[in-house]
């Protein structure tokens, strides 16, 4: 059973996004679309024809598939509700981040392929945000890895049931900032609009239509849920199943649902209470998060926990 847990991410990630949208809507005094709307959108897109620009090469058509499969592989690696899966041996934290980086590389290429200004801008800004986020995210993950003695996610999830130490909390804060940046949420990027000023992810996928667009959006939802799951696994994996026992698995699923909902609510809260930052203010924000991650490392060295 444990080896089917990646299906949870593949199948339920649109739902998570729908929930976040719904909560944001309520906070803004609207009713908003239903939580199942992303599913309807994906299915609708699959049934449409594709419009492809004549300027593009095979990269354009291959990118959605590569992005989707790379993200799906990352979903297979990360332990969702159980650490007893054979697939988790396939990669550790670093492999997971780099699979997501592979997806991002091709998304950026796809943005440049159509030869438009929007795509180029999206690609350029996406790579720039990655430059600002990656070191900070890696440092936070390294601190957690060092305290667990390994970069293997299963190991980290089993050693510390909950990150109850100052250095872990600092690392978690930095990691949450990283999640906001990587999933393209306010204050880094606005996922709801299509204006040039606020399009990083949307800019790169602007030219896509039909099933290509469906795959890109779906991959985006999956990446979000993978990062949530990673945060849970590393910082508070309490309740994760360590065997195949059905009762244990059932509790693990319930606990996981609760945690993901909590993070989703946090994301909605952050998005609703902040304005999007000017792009060139991002280095200050992400640099501050880097200092947090650095402090978490130093605190860990000093305090030993």
């Amino acid at each position: 059973m444990g080896y089917l847990q990646f299906l949870i991410i593949i199948l339920f990630s649109p739902l998570v996004n729908g929930v976040i949208k719904k909560v944001k809507a309520y906070m803004q005094g609207r009713i908003g679309p239903g939580v199942l709307q992303p599913y309807y959108d994906l299915l609708r897109l699959l049934k449409k024809d594709m419009v492809v620009s004549t300027e593009t090469s095979w990269i354009f058509k291959a990118t959605p598939y590569i992005v989707f499969t790379a993200t799906a592989t990352a979903a297979v690696i990360v332990p969702v509700v159980s650490t007893a899966s054979p697939f988790s041996m396939m990669g550790d934290v670093i492999a997971l981040i780099y699979m997501l980086a592979l997806a991002r590389f091709f998304m950026a290429l796809g943005g440049l392929d159509a030869g438009t200004g929007f795509g180029g801008e999206g690609s350029s800004r996406e790579m720039t945000v990655a430059i600002l986020v990656e070191p900070m995210m890696m440092l936070a993950l390294f601190t957690a890895a060092i305290s667990a003695g390994s970069t293997d996610i299963v190991r980290i999830a089993t050693v510390h049931p909950a990150a109850f130490s100052p250095s872990h909390l600092l690392a978690l804060t930095a990691f949450i900032v990283a999640i906001v940046a990587e999933t393209g949420r306010v204050p880094v990027d606005n996922p709801d609009t299509h204006l040039e000023l606020t399009m990083i992810h949307e800019g790169m996928i602007l030219e896509y239509s039909g099933r290509y667009l469906a795959l890109m959006e779906w991959a985006h939802y999956m990446k979000q849920m993978i990062l949530f799951t990673l945060a849970i696994d590393i910082f508070f994996p309490l309740g994760i199943a360590q065997s195949g026992n059905p009762a244990v698995l059932a509790t693990a699923v319930a606990v996981y649902v609760a945690k993901v909902t909590g993070i989703a609510l946090l994301m909605a809260l952050v998005e609703s209470t902040r304005a999007k930052m000017r792009f060139f203010q991002l280095p200050s924000l992400l640099g501050g998060a880097f200092v947090l991650a650095f402090l978490s490392l130093v605190t860990h060295i000093m305090m030993g926990k």
Binding site: L170, S284, V291, L295, V298, I301, M302
Partner: protein, 219 residues
Amino acid sequence: MKSWIEAFSIIDFISVGILLTAVTLNAFKSIESYVKAYTINSWLLASLVAVVAVLVGETHLYIAALLTLATKGIIIPLFLRRIVRRMRVTHEIQPYISNSLSLAISGILVAVVYASLKEGIFITGFSKDVLQISIAVILISLFVMITRKMALTQAIGLLFMENGLFLAGFSLTFGMPTMIELGVLFDMLMGVIILGIFAIQIKRAFASTDLDKLTVLKG
């Protein structure tokens, strides 16, 4: 209660919180945020003393905690707010070093403190960690004082430094003898009041407390 405190290493959390408020001082631009950071810092300090009081069981520590809370946590912040309102300044003038850079330098200062104090110091009293954090706080507040231009920010930096000194002394001796602590507290209070009065007077006389402009006064 005692075992609960130890099990969850509350002391570690509180001391890291103290460090964090000192570090975030670098990131803020508005005087109100500085005052808020100072308030939180003092409250954390007082709670640390209270926690140690529970662990050790000495009554004079409870009194010290209450005293810290009263002066540093309530009276001084109130006074600072009054001064800020009277002076009608809200933001720090462009500091010598940009906020991001000073944030990074504070981080490095923390690392340097940890790296240097690791070996050799034989400490009686609890948690060498707390000593390291207090020295880091002192250095960071000194650094903030060096790089900012407003007299009021310097005053707040001085207050942070006093907090750090108090914490350092506390970690080494389980609370300095109450009399000395009382004396120091009253000195601080007097100092803040006098500084406040001076700041307002200077502003009235010269229309600015920007240190750059005040250097004109030498000679």
